[in-house]
């Protein structure tokens, strides 16, 4: 057996440590292409105005969508000479984000944009900021109290389900399938957003008299998507359509479908990732459509926070101020319109 001396071990671990440190330098550039509003010709709101300090906090999650949220916010803020973005890390849970936001509130930024870990858990922080005279822009995860925010901008989870269900229903009806077998792979099942997506999906299918035959939740990751899809394919030896809630986990779902040599059905994705839009354009897999839930909402949130800070409204509306609630539409991306949506892929 090889003799391992104490010195060798120390050297070995030092080398490993150096390797770990080096990796930080050699890592891929996450910035990629952010979704920003650049063409502002003829928009009076784009003209530089009063200086606005925007405080920003989003969870440091390891999901592509959240990463895109932060990237978009930073990129959009850079577009304005009159905006200073002050970001605070949100840590790993609601308590950590509360603490981070408390220090931010103490710095008195003009506006705060936050994507809370959980809207219910951060509601008190929203109230605190509003009471301190700082307007709060809630990004995506609603606060229960209307007093806790100035603007709420979010995606339409129920609408995603509706859009996916409508596309599937229309396609199956066109094909003349009367009693289809439909599969569903949601993300983390305990989240309200997942339940809303599923509710919308079921409501849309009900219009056609269809229902889901089997539903296997994953965890928004590719490996969990692969496992859930493998189980689903085994349970449904024949399938007509499949809705997978999230394009990131969809990478694993598509891998499982390929590994199982299946292709008798079509699939609809969710969120509108770049990989999914590319796949739909190429049309070489079962993925035929995806319904949007775009992280571009972070870019919009920064733009709107700036307007709120400067007391301006949306120029197309009669109202003098930015509205209180904005819910993005969930659009369906197919081969026909994929090129239009490609720039929004994340």
């Amino acid at each position: 057996m090889i003799q391992i001396s104490r010195r060798n071990i120390l050297l070995g671990s030092a080398a490993a440590g150096t390797g770990l440190a080096l990796s930080a330098c050699t890592s891929n550039d996450p910035a990629g292409t952010a979704q920003v509003k650049t063409d502002t010709s003829g928009n009076a709101n784009a003209a530089a105005g009063q200086q606005v300090v925007i405080g920003f906090s989003a969870p440091a999650a390891d999901h592509g969508w959240i990463a895109a949220i932060t990237n978009n916010a930073k990129a959009q803020a850079k577009q304005y000479a009159d905006v200073e973005l002050r970001t605070v890390e949100a840590g790993t849970d609601a308590a950590a984000q509360r603490a981070a936001l408390a220090t931010l509130i103490a710095q008195k930024p003009t506006v705060i944009v936050m994507l809370p870990h959980d809207g219910k858990e951060l509601n008190a922080t929203g109230l605190e900021a509003m009471r301190a005279g700082i307007p709060v822009v809630n990004l995506d995860r609603a606060f229960p109290s209307a007093a806790a925010y100035r603007l709420q901008i979010k995606g339409d989870n129920y609408g995603m389900g509706l859009a996916a269900g409508k596309y599937i229903g229309d396609q199956l009806k066109a094909k003349g399938v009367s009693n289809p077998i439909i599969g569903e792979i949601p993300g983390i099942d305990s989240l309200e957003l997942t339940q809303e997506r599923t509710a919308g999906f079921n409501a849309a299918l009900a219009v056609y008299g269809f229902k889901v035959a089997n539903r296997r939740p994953a965890e928004f990751t590719a490996d969990s998507g692969q496992a859930a899809a493998t189980a689903l394919l085994q349970a449904l030896p024949k399938m007509d359509a499949l809705w997978n809630h999230d394009d990131d986990q969809g990478i694993g779902v598509l891998a499982a479908i390929k590994q199982a040599n299946r292709g008798e059905f079509f699939m609809v994705g969710g969120a509108g990732s770049k990989a999914a839009i590319d796949g739909i354009t190429k049309d070489d897999t079962v993925l035929k459509a995806t319904v949007t839930y775009s992280p571009s909402m972070a870019s919009s949130a920064i733009s709107l926070a700036r307007l709120i800070g400067q007391g301006k409204g949306l120029s197309d509306l009669v109202e003098l101020q930015v509205p209180k609630e904005i819910t993005l539409a969930s659009e369906t991306i197919t081969k026909d319109n994929a090129s239009k949506y490609a720039p929004l892929g994340f």
């Binding site: 891929n28 440091a60 390891d62 990751t221 692969q226 493998t230 349970a235 891998a255």
Partner: protein, 348 residues
């Protein structure tokens, strides 16, 4: 190493420990699960092709976690615990897919994953064996930091593997059986031989059972402990390649909660959480039970939260059963072999 011969001769009953016989309870659970499957979905089970596919699917879904469990079993028998396995898989998978995907090809990716697994295992081992950190704390710290590093390296994005060789591992078959199952079989066989037929295995049992006695018997306990974590890290590296191939991608959140599944499988397979005793075959059965439950729930479209409750129940039942049987077995052997010798684990 002088006192090596002074090591107590391993009890002959030890061989009996790692046989299928000892895991009759788990085999029974497996059979029961299959019967429930047949009764609830007879139309699926009446198709022989489907049944064959289903068996392969169950084994395939058990393959990556099975490999991790083999490493975990060694660590637990050696008196430790490795909470960082899921994080090591994520780090190894992400590192292989970000740094090596395009530039170094499949060999580079596999090499990277294995080296990262071994390196992290080495860090765990050094912290625990030489830094005298409690295994729970050291590997908990690694769990957090390795996932953090994985998120940093991957830019928090899912890293898609464009390498057809790596992606092909999951769909390649050898003699009609998926390659992933062969990998699991090789790792399990190697683990069995290592534990039951080598000095390394005997030392693992000794170190976990009573480190002080093992040290007095001439075993380099620190070095051995270190090697156990390296072994666990290596298994994670192998699993990282398997999972990356299955998902054709890697990300920082992958292999979520694998540590708990691996520990649970090892424990219900008859491994003592306090160390000194455990079996590889049992651990494999533990993994298969979980994989079969998932399959059973899927074919019946039952909610996964209920599945988790059932899993919890099975863990408790299996451990209770094993304790009961182990106690009666040791009592029996005690009476037969040496009426004066006290039981090794009187409190259990």
């Amino acid at each position: 190493m002088i006192a090596e011969t002074a090591l107590p001769e391993v009890n002959k009953s030890h061989r009996y420990d790692d046989g299928v016989l000892r895991n009759l309870g788990l085999v029974g659970v497996l059979v029961l699960l299959v019967i429930i499957g047949i009764v609830t979905r007879p139309e699926l089970y009446s198709d022989p092709t489907w049944v064959k596919n289903n068996i392969l699917t169950i084994l395939q879904q058990a393959s990556a976690i099975g490999v991790v469990t083999v490493g975990m079993t060694f660590v637990i028998i050696g008196g430790g615990i490795d909470l960082s396995v899921g994080a090591i898989i994520a780090l190894a998978g992400v590192w292989a897919t970000t740094l090596a995907t395009q530039s170094y090809g499949a060999a580079g990716m596999i090499f990277t994953a294995l080296v990262v697994g071994i390196a992290v295992g080495l860090v765990n081992g050094v912290l625990i064996a030489y830094g005298k950190l409690v295994p729970f704390i050291a590997t908990l710290a690694m769990l957090v930091s390795a996932r953090g590093l994985a998120a940093q390296i991957s830019g928090k994005q899912t890293q898609v593997s464009a390498n057809s060789t790596i992606n092909g591992i999951a769909s390649t078959k050898l003699l009609g059986i998926p390659l992933l199952i062969w990998i699991l079989a090789v790792v399990v066989a190697a683990g069995w031989v290592l534990l039951n037929r080598t000095t390394f295995g005997r030392r693992t049992v000794a170190v976990g059972g009573n480190p002080e006695a093992a040290r007095l018997a001439g075993i380099n306990v620190k070095r051995h402990t270190l090697l156990l974590y390296v072994l666990s890290g290596l298994c994670c590296g192998i699993a990282a390649i398997m999972l990356t191939s299955q998902a054709t991608s890697a990300q920082a959140a992958m292999a979520n909660l694998y540590e708990l599944d691996a520990i649970a499988a090892a424990i219900i397979g008859g491994t003592l959480l306090s160390g000194g005793r455990g079996t590889i075959v049992g651990a494999l059965f533990g993994v298969l039970v979980f994989s079969t439950i998932t399959n059973l729930f899927a074919i019946n479209n039952l909610a996964t939260e209920v599945q988790n409750m059932v899993k919890g129940g099975i863990i408790v039942a299996a451990v209770l059963l094993q304790q009961f049987r182990y106690r009666s077995l040791t009592n029996l052997l005690r009476r037969r072999n040496d009426p004066d010798k006290p039981s090794e684990h009187p409190s259990r």
